[in-house]
Structure formats: C-alpha cells, structure tokens
C-alpha cells in the first residue's frame, strides 16, 4: 500500500530525527531492535527499521511528521501484550514505543476522572484510584502489564465488561497525534462533546488512525459489596443453561465465566485451584453493587445453579476466598502450557444463546481433527477463548491447529457472531474480515481511515486485508453516470 523505499526512506528519516530528538530515544542497533520484533502473538516476527522510545507527545509528533515527509510507515507499541499482532512492526517502518510515557497526571475522584499518559499500565490507574474509592473498570487479564494506550487502541475488555462495558465507555477524551503529525484533542472531559464522535471511532482502531498521547479516563466507584461464587456442572451444556437462566432472571452479574474440563485440568495442574473434582465445567459468577441487592441476587444465582443440576456450589466469604476462585480462571491461558507444549489463543464471539450449539460443534471439529481444544470463556457475552493445543515438534500439528482455529472463527461467523471480541483483528485476522463483512462494508470503514490517514502510513496491513487507496473510488455521483432522466435540468 505504501511505496516506501527502505534505502531512501529510513536513512533520510533517521538523519532528520537525529537533529530533532535526543540520541537516547533512537534505537538503531539491530539486536536491540530485534527485541521489539513481536507482540504477544509471537508467531509473527518482523524487525522494525527504527525504534523510537518517545518521551513526550512532542516526540511523537516529530516522528510522525518525519514519517509523513519521508513516506515511512509507523506502528505504535504500548506494552506489546496484544494477541493479534497489532503491534507487529513494519520492516521498513518506525516503531513508536510509548513505554516511557508513564506519567499518571491526576486522579480526581470528585470528577471520577484520571488523566494518564498512554504508557501507563492499566492496573496502575486502579491502584492510584483505589485509596479514593474508585477504579478503572476495563480489566483485561493482562492488566498488570498492558498499557492504557493499548487498551484504547484495542477497545479492550475484561471479565467485568459484561456489566461495565469496554474501554470505549471509559474514555472521555484523548490527545492524539494524527498521521500528518498534527496534535488534536478528541472529546472533552465531560461527555457529549459537539461534533462527530471521533473519539468513539478512534477507540478500537488498533493504531491505524494515529497515536494516542494522553487519555482522560472515567473512574468507577468501587461497589459496596462483591460476592463471588463458583458452581461445578457435569458439562458445559448445564453451565451454559445456568448462564442463560441467570440472564433471563434479569440479573446482570459483574462477570460470568465458564471453563471446560480441559481448561480446569490445566488450571489444576498449574495453580491447584481446587475446583470441584470431576466437574465437566465450572461457572464463576461475580455479583457486585449495593449490599442489599447483591444478597438477593446471590440467592437467585444459587437457586438457578441448583435447578440446572450444579454438582457443587461455593460462595467466597472473604477477599481471600474470592481470589482463590479467580485464581484458576485468571491462570487459565498460561496454565494450558502445563498440558500442551504449544497452543493458539483464539478469540471469537457468538450470540450467548448459540453457545451450547457452538461448543458442541467445536467438540466435533476437535474430535474430527484430533486437535484438543480447551475452552475458557466470558459466558455472559458469548466471548469464547478456545485454546487450541498442539505440539509444534509433531509433524503437521501446527497446520492442523491453525486449521481448527480458523474453523472456530468460521463457526462464530456462521452463528452471527464476530471474529474478535477483545483481542482485535491486527495482522492475524485481517484475512477473516472479508468473511465477516461485505466489500462495501470494508470500503465504508476505509473512508474513516482516509480522513485520518490518506497516505496509509499508520499501522498499514492491520485490520483490513487489502484496503483501497484513498480516493480510488469515485465518491461523487454524477448525473451523467445515471440512467437518463431527460430534462432533469428543468428544476
């Protein structure tokens, strides 16, 4: 898409940046650049031509202006925990790393706001807000390391977004540098700024519209009461039915998570979480809110689980027991390493009501291909995280696992779902976008891209497989192109 010539683009750009930025922010050493070759999706590796460890928004603007002048692509990188290759560098491009932008400017509890730099780690925001009785609601499992900038770019969620929503609902304003190097503020500290919701469009755009350099976040009041319970079931069918019954009862839990037998086995092996022995599935439900409400809801959940033939039901009585229940769930991804040398973390969404059927079909695919699939999912919103297990040393195993992983996405699409609920499209799933969207849909999304990034320099190749060049499609319809409507000039 870009016509960069590595031999002229980068050297010229580098020469220019040396005059503009302090030397210590420019990483040119090949071995050092290599350490940035991948994000959380290690299957893809590309060594960036240049890495800039920016120390201010002005640095970002300088870099992007130079990139525009020399027609060099750039990729933003936060903590590099993304699981779709969103921060995969461009071989002829600049990697803009925000990890030195770690200032947490302010926490204003009375306004329920925090103002942070993009490299600030997700959990750091909640930690800073906690003494005031607040927290930052989006809680990806990677929250101890992932950055707010990455959260914004991926519109990250977490177990608790069932009730509290994704990052998009918790960002009020962003300072961004657009691909032409302009510094722009999107949104205001208060909600409903006038004009188009460019803030809403920027969140989740995976670094393809520019680089966020500061964020004003909404803080959420800590709930008065939190109750966590765990139910063991014979199979995911019963666990799924319990989930549906809880929703049908009008309860909106803070989180509702299911793990299947294989995922439980892995978690036990890794952290001995003591989940009910022999259970084919566990359901973790967390309820939060005013104490008077939570007690009633917990009773309902208990009753529903019993009705759905739970083999065991436990309620945490204190914070330690609560952490114990979550330990198995939170360790699940990493734990799978205990039962399989390699695995693919998939991320797909189906309507909640399609969960039982999709899980059964997934079971069939798994049996059919001889590829084990462990399932951990955000049951409340139908967001599946199948872990496709394989041994890369075994001949053909990697290919089979990738095939199964792709078939799972097709299942999601066939059931009216999505190819990603929170990990993003990135480099990994761009090729699936045409299966989920029509060409006209993708072209229309591209219009937004063209408004921000007409030269296609911001994270090219991500999200959209083969975007049209901006201006390639005639946007203005001319009467002459229309079927003859003789005499139309009369009016």
């Amino acid at each position: 898409m870009t016509q960069t010539d590595a031999r002229t683009g980068i050297p010229a750009l580098l020469q220019e940046l040396r005059g503009l930025l302090p030397d210590h922010v420019l990483v040119t050493d090949p071995a050092e650049r290599e350490t940035y070759a991948c994000d959380g999706l290690a299957a893809y590796r590309v060594r960036p031509a240049l890495v800039v460890l920016v120390e201010s928004a002005d640095h970002v603007a300088q870099v992007l202006r130079s990139c525009a002048r020399h027609h060099v692509p750039f990729v933003a990188r936060g903590s590099g925990t993304g699981l779709s290759g969103g921060a995969l560098p461009h071989a002829d491009g600049v990697l803009v790393v925000t990890s030195r932008l770690r200032t947490l400017h302010e926490v204003r509890a009375q306004d329920q706001r925090a103002v942070v730099d993009p490299g600030v780690v997700n959990l750091a925001v909640s930690k800073a807000a906690h003494p005031h009785g607040y927290y930052f609601a989006p809680d990806p499992s990677s929250q101890q390391i992932c950055s707010v900038g990455g959260n914004v770019a991926e519109n990250s969620g977490g177990a608790h977004c069932l009730k509290y929503g994704f990052t998009a609902g918790h960002v009020l304003s962003l300072e961004v540098v657009t691909p032409d190097g302009e510094q722009v503020t999107l949104g205001t500290e208060a909600p409903d700024p006038p004009g188009y919701d460019l803030l809403g469009a920027f969140v989740g755009s995976e670094g393809t519209l520019g680089v966020a350099t500061r964020a004003t976040l909404r803080l959420t009041r800590l709930p008065e009461e939190v109750r966590t319970c765990l139910a063991g079931f014979a199979s995911t069918d019963e666990a799924g039915a319990a989930t549906s019954a809880i929703i049908a009862a009008g309860i909106v839990p803070a989180a509702m998570e299911i793990m299947d037998a294989l995922a439980i086995e892995a978690a036990e092996a890794a952290v001995s979480c003591g989940y009910p022995e022999g259970a084919g599935a566990v359901l973790v439900v967390e309820l939060d809110g005013p104490a008077l409400e939570v007690e009633g809801e917990l009773e309902q959940v208990r009753r529903i689980c019993r009705e759905q033939r739970a083999v065991e039901f436990r309620t945490a009585t204190d914070a330690a027991e609560r952490a114990e229940i979550w330990r198995g769930r939170k360790s699940a991804f990493a734990a799978v390493g205990r039962i399989s040398p390699d695995y693919i973390v998939q991320d797909g969404v189906v309507p909640r009501t399609a969960l039982p059927e999709v899980l059964r079909e997934m079971g069939r695919i798994s049996a059919d291909r001889g590829v084990r699939v462990a399932n951990v999912f955000h049951a409340g919103d139908g967001n599946l995280h199948p872990l496709v297990l394989f041994d890369a040393d075994e001949e053909g195993a990697t290919g089979r696992a990738e095939e199964v992983s792709g078939m799972i996405l097709d299942l999601c699409i066939a059931h009216g779902g999505s190819i990603t609920g929170e990990h993003g499209v990135g480099a990994d799933k761009a090729r699936y976008m045409p299966r989920m969207f029509e060409p006209a849909d993708l072209d229309t999304m591209q219009l937004l891209r063209c408004a921000f990034d007409p030269d296609g320099l911001a994270n090219p190749g991500k999200i959209y497989p083969t975007p049209r060049m901006c201006g390639e499609r005639p946007r203005v319809v001319h009467a002459a192109d229309e079927p003859a409507v003789g005499g139309a000039e009369v009016f």
Binding site: Q110, D111, N155, G157, C161, G165, A168, T185, L186, E189, A190, P191, D192, P193, P194, G195, Y196, D197, G200, A201, G204, S205, R221, P223, E224, I247, A248, G289, P290, L292, E293, G296, E297, V350, P351, D381, G382, N383, G416, S418, T420, E422, G424, M433, M436, F437, E438, D441, T444, M445, L448, A451, F452, I463, V476, V477, H478, A479, E482, F491
Partner: protein, 434 residues
C-alpha cells in the same frame, strides 16, 4: 421532469407541504423508501442531481442544530419501522430506523426488556409520536437513565447505513462484544444525519428492574455542592441522578433506584433518611414510581415533552442548550445558568444537562446567556451547544455560535468530505457548517 417524477422510480414520493419544512426551510418532496435498497436508489439519484436530502423520523428534533442550507427531499424513515429481531436470550434487538421508541418499548416489555434511552421528545413530532430509533441515534438522545446504562452510543452495537452515493454498508453486528473493524455506529451516533442515512439499528437491551423508586429532595442552593458530592461518592449505584434548577428556586434533586423487590424500597428509604440529615438536603422523600416520573416530571426541557409539566418556560419554542461540565463543576454551572434566567435539567451524575430559556426572551439577552454559560462550561471541562432556538435567535448565531468550540473540527471536515463529498445530506446543519 419534476423532482417527484425523477424520484418516483426509486421509492414512494409525494410533494412536500408547509409542514414538511425543515426548521423553516421548505422542501420540494417527501420520499418514503421502504428498504435499504430503495434508500440507496433514492440517494444515488439525489446525489447525481445535486439534491439536498434531510432525513426525518417523526420530526420531533428536526429543529435541532442549524437550519440546513437547502432541502430538496425529506427522506422519511417511517416505512422502515419493523422489528427485525428481538433475541430474548441475547438481550439484543434489531429494528428499522423508523421504529418509534414508544412502540419498541411496548414490543420489548413482554420480555421485561428495555432499550435504556429516555425519550425527551415524548409527545412531539408528527402525530405526537415522539422519537424514532433512527432519530434518537442520529441525535445521540440522552436522558437520566444513561447513568445506569451509558449513553445511547454505547448501546448501539450494529448499524446499517446508506451513504450519499448509494453504498449500503453495515458495521458492528448483533453481538454485544465485538471489536472487528471500525465502530461506524459510534461515528453516526449524534451525526445529525450528515454522514449517512441510518436504515437499521441493532441495540443492546437491559432487563427491566423489578422495582423502581425515586427519592426527591429540594435542596437549598448553598447546599447543592455537598449534596451532589455526597450522592456521587455514594455506593448506591443509582439508575438516575438528576436535578431540576429554576432561577431563584431551590434545586430539586432526584435519585432513581432500581433493583430487586423490597430491597429497592429499603434503599430508597435509607437514602431519604440520609439526605434529610442536617447539612444536606434537610428534607427528602422517597416515592414509589410506577409511572416513571423520572422522565415526566424531572425532564420537562423539550417543549411539549412533559404532558404533566406546569413549567411556563417550556411554552412556545424555548432556546434549548445542552450543557456539560465535570461533575464537581455542576453547582457552578447551575448557578451561572440560573443567574442568566435559564432553567437547568439533566443528569448531575453524568455531567450532561440541558438548559432552557423561554421564547419571549429578547435575542440579545439570549445571546448573552449563551455566552456566559459557554464561558462557564468551557472552564469546567465541558461544552455548550444551542440545540434549538426561536428563528430570531438561530439567525443571530453562526455555526460557531451554535456549536461552540469543537475539538477536532478539521478532522471532522475530512470525515464529512469522505462520507458525503457532494454535501447531499443535511448540508449546513452540523458543526462547522458541514
């Protein structure tokens, strides 16, 4: 050939009457496409012939924003009003843009589900039908209960759009959690019909609470700040936290609670007792609320919106502002607005409110009030938009006077130029004269 005959090949068309004028700008025809395909054919023809198109649901908020520079075609969404799907187990519904919110509410009630949006234009528009779903999305309609469920932009999970060149496109989907591709649903929410015609919307639903209670308190001005601070910092998880402030009167603060049977009443009683403590409101009452007075009594800001309202200031066509501020700045905002004769209503829990000035106010006084409130909101991290006003006021304002400072305006121009380069859709109605 007349426009009517030209467009008749694309969809149902009739000549426009006086009542079809858009904020005083007369239209030539009213077109009523019955599908995205018909909308596409219509828009393509309009684009080709340079005809300006304004989308209308029930017309309840058609006066909002700037009057369009010109109108040739009013595109009515009324023939796209069907409920496409209500997926009960998924708490998701898809409906045509012309679906009236009141009808949607009725259709969802059987499952005890609701789209949590408050129709502040109840009783307005053609046949007094209130807002349509498409109109609500296009104006990012916002009411008290967004404190509970978020603004409408967070509830829209999928859209079908028709661009001015006739392209039919979809974004999002019908699952609540979905990050595949740009969120064009957010982009068109609040775009006042200037980027694309929304023909279908998929929304996230919420279960209706089993019990709803309201706690009302009349708060002396001097105590507004501590009362609001107390409520904001509380752990009540209220569904609404609204205020209604008239010049020279005590401020009425209303808290809406929703939850389980019995527990909600108990929480309301506790809150009323708490607020009645000396130093806070002094006198608060909890009331059962089968009729949703949170909508009807506390939000009489859109003319005619409140059948039971006795507010004299909503008669005629008042000047209607949206005003926003950081939470701790709301008492100051209220004071400035009240000092300039404005009545303020809205969500003190979110920081998005509306202010009204009665129609007979002389134009210079209105402009002065707008300037004063805008200066206050700018200083408080928010904004002031003149959403609606009598013609004399509107013509005294330019786009900058209507919308105030718009962060990112240049980018917005570029977005408009990409989506609607021929300025077919509601030219001039939106920020920066887009």
């Amino acid at each position: 050939m007349t426009i009517e005959r030209l467009l008749a090949a694309t969809c149902a068309v009739r000549p426009a009457g006086d009542e079809d004028a858009v904020d005083g700008v007369p239209s030539q025809v009213v077109a009523r496409p019955a599908s995205a395909q018909e909308t596409s054919a219509l828009l393509r023809t309009c684009s080709a012939h340079g005809l300006a198109v304004v989308v209308r649901g029930h017309g309840s908020k058609l006066g909002w924003g700037r009057p369009p520079e010109r109108v040739d075609v009013v595109l009515e969404t009324g023939a796209m009003a069907q409920l496409v799907e209500h997926s009960r187990g998924d708490l998701v519904a898809t409906a045509g843009a012309g679906m009236p919110l009141s009808r949607l509410r009725h259709l969802l009630a059987g499952a005890r589900h609701e789209l949590v949006v408050d129709d502040l234009a109840v009783g307005r528009g053609t046949t007094a039908g209130g807002s349509t779903l498409g109109g609500a999305v296009a104006t990012n309609l916002s009411g008290p209960r967004r404190l509970r469920a978020g603004p409408l932009r967070d509830l829209v999970i999928g859209v079908r759009l028709v661009l001015a060149d006739g392209t039919v496109a979809r974004a999002g989907g019908k699952v609540v959690k979905n990050v595949a591709g740009y969120d064009l649903g957010k982009l068109v929410t609040g775009s006042f019909g200037t980027l694309a015609v929304i023909t279908e919307v998929t929304v996230r639903l919420h279960p209706e609470p089993s019990e709803v209670r309201q706690v009302h308190a009349l708060v002396p001005r001097g105590r507004l700040a501590p009362v609001l601070a107390h409520l904001v910092a509380g752990q009540l998880a209220p569904h609404t936290l609204d205020l209604h402030a008239r010049p020279g009167k005590d401020v009425r603060v209303s808290v809406g609670l929703g939850g389980g049977p019995g527990s909600t009443q108990r929480r309301a009683d506790l809150l009323a007792a708490e607020l009645s403590a000396p130093g806070l409101a002094g006198d608060a009452v909890a009331v059962a609320d089968p009729e949703r007075t949170d909508l009807q009594e506390v939000a009489p800001v859109v003319p005619g919106a409140a059948p039971r309202s006795t507010d004299e200031e909503v008669a005629g066509r008042p000047t209607l502002l949206t005003v926003t501020a950081r939470l701790s700045g709301i008492p100051e905002l209220v004071q400035v607005a009240n000092d300039h004769g404005l009545t303020v209503t809205g969500s003190a829990g979110v920081g998005a409110l509306r202010a009204t000035l009665p129609e007979p106010t002389p134009v210079p006084a209105v402009l002065e009030a707008v300037a004063a409130v805008r200066a206050a909101t700018t200083g408080l991290g928010g904004s002031t938009v003149v959403l609606d006003a009598p013609p004399a006021v509107k013509s005294a304002l330019d786009p900058a006077g209507t919308w105030g400072p718009v962060p990112g305006l240049e980018l917005m121009r570029r977005v408009k130029a990409q989506f609607d380069p021929g300025r077919t859709l509601a030219p001039g109605r939106f920020v920066g004269g887009l």
